[in-house]
């Protein structure tokens, strides 16, 4: 049957149909909708597939390995920076290998629509010696899941699947299967000697996985997802070569296709499975005078293809033909192709095909100039959001200090950096607020304040708080608890109803642990507590707690519907 699915949803359904037994994930744009789809899917519920949110990406990856150990298929989903959090189990999962298939789905975010960097996860695949897939369409994303689980079990290695924002968050009609493969039964085939990474075992596994790379590259060469199209024109007579071959990967392939509605006249190579099949690249080098490499993200393929040579006949991101940063668009690809083709040699060569007009680049469409009256409309904290009251109170108290520093964290409350609050001085990665505040206090800063959300605190803040408690660091930690993971759309938060006991358990003194309700009417109480705790020279934790206004509205609506 046909369904209109987001790339993320196609991945989720593909996994369910491939006999998945559990998805393990922490919410992160643009990957969140995969797990949400599985949580809501009727068959997944009927089968009782694991789909509850994990505390962070590392716990997710490790739980998936446990499921695989017992022979079942597991999917791990995260945004690109989440792969940093689970880098340890991810890299070592190549050393242990897998029993049941494991697919690690990572959604990169070029242009940083909702992220702090543009890292390209394909480098992780190469670095960990793990085969990597990169779909170029939603249909391919669906089809690849069955392939990836089979391949993972065949090679006894996890498979990394890399998508980007446009693939994750774009819908298309997808032809899906009517029936799902059965789940794997539990088995005891996992060999302890592979899974216990003592040096002697790990060395043996390292040799094995390293030797396996040749086979993985051979498989990529024959992959149904990698294409080499010869092009429909004859090469030049005097040297039997074409003017310009193009290598395009993932979603970038679509932008090249968009430029040539009638098909590209010369060789065109699509890369959707890695390790990069070098034989195919060499074939193109032999048959084309010039090569252009179009890929979404960092110049991963280009760097390998160029090597250390400074080839003037190669175009891509490293020579400035395509922009080094930011997301590609069909316009950027078209303009860059025009740049390359308008260079003298290529132009002359292209003109020798003048007989057939349809292979020319389409003209850049005439368009309206950008409006001069449009102003930016940055995102902002919602009206009625509790974080607003937290920042109002904090700013009021901090006015009394000469050089206060507020270390922020990842979540909606990062928007506190923007006017009107301008309330935070840093935001680096999940959990860094507490540890950076501690380091600043170690350096002599006072007052040093950390502002962290509830979900971010359980994700990566607890260990940092333990460091601070152990040294009784002079910091004030504000855990702004809105009872949900709000930024990604309101997923369950791992620590809900547990924060006071977590803080006590980590050793925060009872008299320096406070819970307040962030509402304008409570401002005198909140500011008094903040002031007192800033003046206390040790670890204090203040927990302003009020439900996220978005989930509050949603819950009210659901309640109303129930009562009808």
């Amino acid at each position: 049957m046909k369904r209109l699915l987001l790339g993320d949803e196609a991945i989720a359904l593909g996994a369910i149909h491939a006999g998945l037994s559990g998805v393990y994930a922490y919410p992160g744009t643009p990957s969140t909708e995969i797990t949400e789809f599985i949580q809501a899917d009727a068959l997944a519920r009927e089968r009782g597939l694991h789909s509850r949110w994990c505390t962070n990406e590392k716990t997710a990856m490790e739980a998936a390995l446990g499921m695989s150990y017992m022979g079942k298929r597991a999917l791990v989903c995260m945004k690109h920076v989440g792969l940093n959090v689970c880098a340890d189990p991810f890299v070592n999962s190549a050393m242990t290998g897998v029993n049941g298939g494991v697919v690690v789905l990572v959604a990169d975010d070029p242009s940083m629509h909702s992220s702090q960097d543009e890292q390209d996860s394909r480098f992780y695949g190469k670095f960990a010696m793990i085969p990597t897939l990169e779909p170029s369409s939603q249909q391919e994303a669906y089809d690849m899941m069955a392939y990836a689980f089979d391949y993972s079990e065949q090679q006894c290695l996890p498979v990394l699947m890399r998508v980007t924002t446009r693939m994750a968050h774009s819908r298309a009609v997808v032809q899906v299967k009517d029936e799902a493969r059965a789940e794997n039964p539990l088995n005891y085939k996992s060999v302890a000697a592979n899974w216990v990474l003592l040096p002697a075992n790990a060395r043996r596994r390292n040799d094995k996985v390293t030797a396996q790379q040749t086979q993985l590259e051979e498989d990529a060469l024959n992959s149904p997802f990698n294409l080499y199209k010869e092009g429909c024109t004859a090469p030049r007579e005097y040297n039997r070569k074409h003017a310009l071959g193009i290598i395009a990967s993932g979603i970038a392939y679509n932008y090249v296709e968009e430029c040539f509605p009638e098909g590209y006249p010369y060789p065109l190579m699509k890369v959707s499975q890695y390790p990069l099949p070098k034989k195919l690249v060499r074939r193109m080098m032999e048959k084309c005078e010039q090569i252009m490499i179009v890929e979404e993200g960092q110049p991963f393929i280009e760097d390998m293809v160029r090597g250390v040579t400074d080839n003037v006949w190669m175009y891509g991101k490293l020579d400035g033909t395509l922009p080094r940063t930011g997301e590609l668009t069909p316009d950027i690809v078209l303009q860059s192709l025009n740049k390359v083709i308008s260079k003298y040699t290529t132009k002359a060569i292209l003109h020798s095909y003048k007989t057939d007009q349809k292979w020319y680049l389409p003209d850049v469409a005439k368009n309206f100039a950008p409006s001069e009256n449009v102003v930016p409309r940055p995102p902002a904290l919602c009206q009625g959001c509790g974080h607003r009251d937290v920042y109002t109170a904090l700013n009021e108290v901090l006015k009394e200090f000469e050089n206060p520093r507020v270390f922020g964290d990842i979540g909606c409350y990062t928007l506190g950096f923007l006017p009107p609050y301008r309330a935070i001085h840093s935001c680096v990665d999940m959990g860094a607020s507490i540890t950076m505040a501690k380091g600043a206090a170690d350096a002599g800063q006072w007052p040093a304040v950390a502002v962290i959300g509830d979900s971010t605190f359980t994700h990566s803040g607890m260990t940092g708080l333990l460091d601070a408690v152990n040294e009784n660091a002079d910091i004030t930690v504000i855990i702004s608890d809105n009872l949900t993971t709000a930024m990604t759309g309101g997923q369950d938060s791992a620590g809900t109803n547990k924060f006071e006991s977590i803080c006590r358990g980590l050793g925060v003194a009872e008299e320096h642990l406070h819970v307040v309700v962030p509402l304008p009417k409570n401002m005198p109480e909140i500011t008094r507590i903040i002031r007192e705790e800033l003046n206390y020279h040790g670890v204090s934790v203040i927990i302003p707690r009020r439900e996220c206004i978005q989930t509050f509205k949603r819950h009210a609506k659901e309640k109303k519907a129930e009562n009808k």
Binding site: S170, V173, Y255, T329, V374, V375, P379
Partner: protein, 190 residues
């Protein structure tokens, strides 16, 4: 046939439900569809857009190239102008005339209206007032869709059927309100 549509507005205004109806109608016609959406941080009151492409032939890019959009459907007048470079020479702009002011430097509405009126094909409607006057305050976005129907080149009956299918689980009252809104919008665009 091939229609490239940019849907835009401010996070939370409901542009995705317009996209859902068009997508449902197109899928029922066995057309190809690609629809790039914005999720995540921008949804918190920032500018949001969705690129919706429908075609009888396979579609390559998820994003619409500049100068190729046949229609801009906007829930907010300044947001309609934000995507002008994507509008084709003969393209239509169907927009709400009501500004959503959540920024301190929102331009003067006279300037915005003057720029809109210079475009070849513009329909600007106070959809919120119309929705209120007709007792369907939550269906303003479907009024906009009704006004865009002709420019979209999708049969009115097919949009209506799509509304029935998509809103069916929300009950007859919701279906009726949205169909009424579609009709009001269509009448506005004549």
């Amino acid at each position: 046939m091939k229609t490239d549509i940019i849907l835009c507005g401010v996070g939370g205004q409901g542009i995705l439900s317009i996209a859902t109806i068009i997508g449902e109608a197109a899928m029922n016609e066995n057309l190809y569809i690609k629809q790039a959406e914005v999720h995540g941080m921008s949804q918190r009151g920032g500018d949001v857009q969705s690129n919706l492409r429908i075609s009888s032939e396979p579609i390559a890019s998820d994003l619409i190239p500049q100068g190729k959009a046949d229609v801009i459907i906007s829930m907010e007048p300044m947001e309609a102008l934000r995507y002008l470079p994507y509008l084709s020479a003969g393209g239509w702009v169907i927009t709400s005339s009501v500004p959503f002011v959540n920024i301190p430097n929102y331009p003067d509405m006279e300037v915005v209206n003057a720029e809109l009126s210079k475009l070849p094909h513009v329909v600007a409607i106070d959809i919120e007032q119309l929705a209120k006057d007709n007792g369907i305050p939550r269906s303003a976005n479907m009024i906009l869709l009704g006004a865009a129907q002709k420019a979209l080149g999708i049969d009115y009956a097919k949009l209506e059927a799509a509304i029935r299918r998509v809103f069916a689980r929300k009950g007859d009252a919701v279906v009726d309100a949205n169909i009424k809104a579609l009709a009001i919008g269509k009448a506005q665009a004549v």
